[in-house]
């Protein structure tokens, strides 16, 4: 693809802290290379702000290679911007043209309060994991991988569910701010592996109970989450979560 430079107008959500009201502020950046990543463009803008003595824009990022799930940005009305199955750090400036205006907002959900600017607090996800997104085993030497045969189909499905990076795009994009895709990925992953069996029932009941406590909305099956998930987590996992919940709910003595 041909390389080009562009000048852009950016409208970025600035918010001091969780208590204050935020607003969109307008910035200009010049000579942005089409080869840059979206976050590199933000680095350029932030250096510009620092040189001018202004407060740089706070945003989350870590790996910058699409695996940590930190880079939460709602760009031009879509979680992680215009490309599908993609994180913000892997969005490149060739997605935009010279003269474009780009609007960048934080994830918006009652369960993800804004910390500052584009940074949000996703610890509600951590608490859901703490409620059941684990297996209890004795640590020690790794056991031989072949001592525990797993059906190929189950291994593949569990692996696809395990691809979830906990980014929260599913919540950010859902009209209802529902966390069902995230929770379903974790439940579906462990429910299909032998290691997940001992805690199978309590896991799904406890994780859903924690999800409900965290102010996420209720799923209405719009499937927007699947369309915007950077890892292409399928809504068939949500159907599996519903099945797991029903059968655990029917047999539980909790």
């Amino acid at each position: 693809m041909e390389h080009y430079n562009m000048n852009l107008t950016l409208k970025i959500w600035r918010q001091k802290n969780n208590q204050s009201a935020g607003s969109l502020e307008t910035y200009q950046v010049k000579d942005i290379s089409s080869e840059m990543s979206f976050l590199e463009m933000f680095d350029v803008l932030n250096e510009q702000l620092i040189v001018a003595g202004d407060d740089p824009i706070a945003f989350d990022h870590d790996c910058r290679e699409g695996i940590c799930g930190q880079c939460s940005m709602h760009i031009d009305g879509r979680a992680h911007g215009p490309w599908t199955n993609n994180t913000t750090c892997q969005l490149h400036m060739r997605a935009f043209k010279d003269g474009d205006t780009i609007v960048v907002e934080p994830w918006r959900s009652k369960a993800f309060p804004v910390i500052k600017d584009l940074m949000v607090d996703r610890s509600s996800f951590d608490r859901i994991i703490q409620a059941g997104g684990y297996i209890s085993v004795n640590t020690g030497n790794a056991v031989d991988a072949n001592s525990l045969p797993i059906d190929k189909k189950d291994a593949d499905n569990a692996f696809m569910a395990a691809a979830c990076i906990g980014c929260g795009a599913c919540v950010a994009t859902c009209v209802n701010s529902s966390a069902m895709l995230f929770v379903s990925a974790k439940v579906a992953q462990l429910a299909q592996l032998p290691q997940g069996q001992p805690e199978r029932e309590s896991r799904v009941l406890n994780m859903v109970a924690q999800m409900d406590k965290e102010n996420f909305g209720n799923c209405t099956n719009t499937y927007a989450c699947e369309a915007e998930c950077p890892k292409g987590i399928s809504v068939s996992n949500i159907a599996r979560l519903n099945r797991e919940y029903l059968s655990a709910g029917l047999s539980t003595e909790q």
């Binding site: 009305g77 907002e105 209802n176 209405t220 719009t222 927007a224 369309a227 915007e228 519903n242």
Partner: protein, 237 residues
């Protein structure tokens, strides 16, 4: 499923929506099938016969109680979900391109349901109340036509009532058609959504369920929409 989980957890509430929704979908098949008998254009003979059967059969009348219970559960739970979901995002996005990832009607189930509810109140007032309680003050004119004699048995003449409500009343016809259109969009999403809620999501069967949902929604709603039109345009007399 403990009762507490069924009524208070997010997934339990969804099960109620799906269970009651599927029940309503089944009811609509029967309702639409019987009403479609007006198209025989026999002065309502067949239609009134079956209408009378539905109104007098003990099993059907018992199921009617269940229908009301389920409808109320669907409405109460639907409105509760809608209001909870609205509160889950107190600060809205300035720019939101929802069309990129979902259909507008899947995001508007609460709104469409409320439109159906408004229509339903009018609809029950027109047909259900007079057929069960022998007319209401506001629609006195029905009295003269409310009884017809069939096989030496007096039956409620719902056909004449439909004629009266729709024949010279463009506004009512339009309101009914709008109500049915809302129902159509609600079902286009709701039919397949109910299966997903019950955990049915399968490579082979889900496309069939989705196809059946579209056929069901369009056929049922088209037939319902044609009924007021048929009286208004004198296709049936």
């Amino acid at each position: 499923m403990t009762w507490k989980l069924f009524f208070t957890s997010s997934i339990g509430k969804k099960f109620i929506m799906a269970l009651t929704g599927i029940f309503l979908i089944t009811f609509l098949i029967v309702h639409c099938g019987i009403n479609a008998m007006i198209f025989f254009n026999d002065g309502g003979e067949t239609f009134n016969h079956w209408g009378h059967f539905m109104g007098s059969n003990l099993i059907v009348r018992t199921m009617e109680l269940g229908l009301f219970l389920f409808l109320i559960m669907h409405i109460v739970q639907g409105l509760t979900l809608w209001s909870q979901n609205n509160k889950s995002r107190p600060v809205k996005y300035v720019v939101k391109n929802s069309a990129a990832n979902s259909t507008w009607y899947s995001r508007s189930m609460g709104l469409l349901g409320t439109l159906i509810l408004i229509f339903l109140v009018l609809h029950l007032y027109h047909f259900w109340t007079p057929s069960r309680f022998g007319g209401m003050a506001g629609i006195k004119a029905l009295d003269e036509t409310s009884l017809a004699t069939y096989n030496n048995e007096e039956v409620h003449n719902l056909y004449a009532e439909m004629k009266l409500v729709f024949e010279n009343n463009l506004l009512i016809v339009v309101v009914y058609i709008l109500g049915v259109i809302s129902l159509c969009w609600h079902l286009l999403h709701g039919f397949q959504s109910a299966f997903q809620t019950f955990g049915v999501n399968h490579k082979r069967y889900t496309p069939i369920i989705k196809g059946a949902g579209v056929v069901y929604s369009v056929v049922i709603c088209l037939l319902f929409a044609l009924m007021p039109l048929a009286f208004y345009l004198h296709w049936v007399n």
